[in-house]
Symmetry: C2
Subunit: 153 residues, 2 copies
Amino acid sequence: MADQLTVAEVAARSGFAPSALRFYERRGLIEAGRTSGNQRRYHRDVLRRLAFIAAARHVGLTLDEIRAALDTLPEGRSPTRRDWTRISRHWRARLDAEIDALRQLRDGLDGCIGCGCLSLDRCVISNPDDTVAPRGPGAVFLPRPLHPPVEDL
Amino acid sequence: MADQLTVAEVAARSGFAPSALRFYERRGLIEAGRTSGNQRRYHRDVLRRLAFIAAARHVGLTLDEIRAALDTLPEGRSPTRRDWTRISRHWRARLDAEIDALRQLRDGLDGCIGCGCLSLDRCVISNPDDTVAPRGPGAVFLPRPLHPPVEDL
DNA sequence: TCTTGACTTGAAGTCAACTTCAAGTTCTAC
DNA sequence: GTAGAACTTGAAGTTGACTTCAAGTCAAGA
């Protein structure tokens, strides 16, 4: 009987909107029990799970990746600290990679700004990874707080 | 008569798909002349403009921001090296900010992974900027090449 | 001249991660 | 017992940056 949290409570304590909770449930990231009247009741474990989701989103993982990670948690028992540590261990490499990519871009920029070249095939800035073809439609994502608008220009 | 480049040529040399070129034109980022038969013919200046767009996209600017920047270029003459340098100078601060944000996240992660806490309101990773409410719908963007998929987990 | 490939348009589709809506149901406090 | 807040559902809308489609028009070489 530890699953007595209502949608509103979970929403308030996790910071996710109720609509997001339902969305995550449809996507298989969280689950919920039901009352006799078909309303959701959450186990408190869901809060830690949501904290993990929030963290992973900040690191830049997609919901699919997050679900894959969550799927490796043990069934039948509450995850331990060690479980959470295990599945978030890979984040560091990811962040390191992103930081490095950004740093390369910035350092290239320092050289490039001076020359004003912006050559499509030579400039590090306009062509960072020496490819020409971008692929696929749709959007590419960055964790929310890392992409603040810059005031001037 | 320097505007003799066809869509296909500009697409090939810029790496942008023809559909993207038309899209950018509608959004006011580039322009093109027309033949008597209404087909587009580009001035070669458009290539450098597209290089700027590509670079700005990599840095993470939105098309609206890019258009705003391009709008400050002088009319009537081809932009000089100095012009390009001027409008891309602000990128460095932007990149620095993003790198810093990522680094903070990573450093917080080092402490957090060990403790496995992932507390919704205390953990740096699950709540990097001490906010609770995310705002608005839609997507948040990171420059394409900076967000590679990670293989395991 | 004819064919074929390149081009034109507006409208609609895509992707991720949600939010909003409408229309109805349940829970809880009085 | 009832008001009203909280909940339910599926469907459709939002955002940014494009792509894809259908139905036709243009350009260039043989």
